[in-house]
Symmetry: D2
Subunit: 135 residues, 4 copies
């Protein structure tokens, strides 16, 4: 499968901080979701396309490893790397603050038939094409 890597910028906001004056660990889930949406937008296959294809891709698994903390105003780069499309979408994430890698994560999304909730093990054609056509 073609290797696809995208980058997404985030600036740490005050409302994301915890009493240690660093980003609360749960807020990185938002950062990787924003980067993943940006990934699908760059791939030209968004949630609206999933909707048209009668498919949903809920998160089935997620893991995060915290390396360093981030502070108010830090400019972070979230890297998304597509690892697998079938039987499930597997994406790896690296978050960098300058040159420092501060977090790694991964998500697994299972395809589900939007009508009857059945698990699907093949990606929709248009998603496969979008991956093949990505430049």
């Amino acid at each position: 499968m073609k290797k696809i890597v995208t980058k997404y910028q985030i600036k740490v906001q005050f409302y994301d901080l915890d009493p240690m004056n660093i980003v609360w660990h749960g807020n990185y889930v938002k950062y990787i979701e924003a980067a993943r949406c940006d990934f699908f937008e760059k791939l030209n296959y968004t949630y609206k396309d999933m909707y048209k294809d009668g498919i949903m891709y809920p998160i089935a698994k997620m893991d995060l490893k915290y390396i360093k903390s981030a502070k108010f105003g830090d400019k972070l780069t979230v890297e998304c790397i597509l690892k697998e499309l079938e039987p499930a979408i597997l994406i790896k994430y690296n978050i960098y603050s300058g040159r420092d890698k501060i977090l790694t994560a991964s998500t697994m999304q299972m395809a589900v038939n939007a009508k009857n909730g059945e698990t699907l093990y093949n990606a929709p054609k248009r998603l496969i094409e979008a991956v093949n056509n990505y430049e």
Copy 2:
């Protein structure tokens, strides 16, 4: 209109704190929403009933006054006071930590026809009955 006052308990969680080690000001919007849902549940007219009546009650206005701060583990009481039902639902809120009043707020919710989005100026019959029957 009959005076209805309900009380709802909340315990301050770590994830609600900001770098000053107090509840981040925006999180009180969650506290008053949880108390408002509890209010409608006690009234026996919930979101599901609104749905059946083909009506929605989005927030049209909200204001908050911050008096004192709340800390990790504080047990807060959110008081809801129904002020008006028509042409819009007006609820006042007082949040107490022990005997100290720490916040006052109010919300105005406009009734909207769920199908066509039109504003309605009368409350649904079942809501009016629910208010009249509240003990």
Copy 3:
């Protein structure tokens, strides 16, 4: 007092949506906070400067009026308008989606001595200068 108006861009994320598929009303508090931090950064007087001046500016009052809703992917512009500096900082906000004004809001921030918690009725000199020097 010199009129200061800043503009801040936000793109609506999936995690900000509610079951009606629109931005949950409480999340606008984050949008106006992000815009306010950007305002102070453009003014060249940030939270770090407040810290050096031994002063804090907690939110004492906030109100929001909801005009229209925002959806996934919408690009919003948050306009901040400085209305008063003393005895408290008063900022007005307008949020636009394209040409549509979708929300207005205001916040009042009281100056507090960071050491003893006493309310202050004058702005720190450096903040007044920052406002006067803003171009």
Copy 4:
């Protein structure tokens, strides 16, 4: 090591829902944090004790597996199971909705010297005693 299992109740709030009308996947991080704080409270060794011991326990790793979804008003039970104390605190979580297990998760927390940020591989004495004395 003594087996410690605690249970914590949560009621799903409106503000935790996403456009699919189910709990947004990232909000389970809050649910397990609330349950973990409750776990330490029942153990009688809270964040305040960590503070006195000059130690912090940030999250170093977290993983979540999503089995079923949760809806508005669902009453969930979060089970915490202490798996390891040293060299790091490892806790497993099961979330139940009625008899259905809807999520499993685990967190690893590394002990850090609060002053110099150095990693510690032994738990503080008082935490070990708290575990031994738990009934």
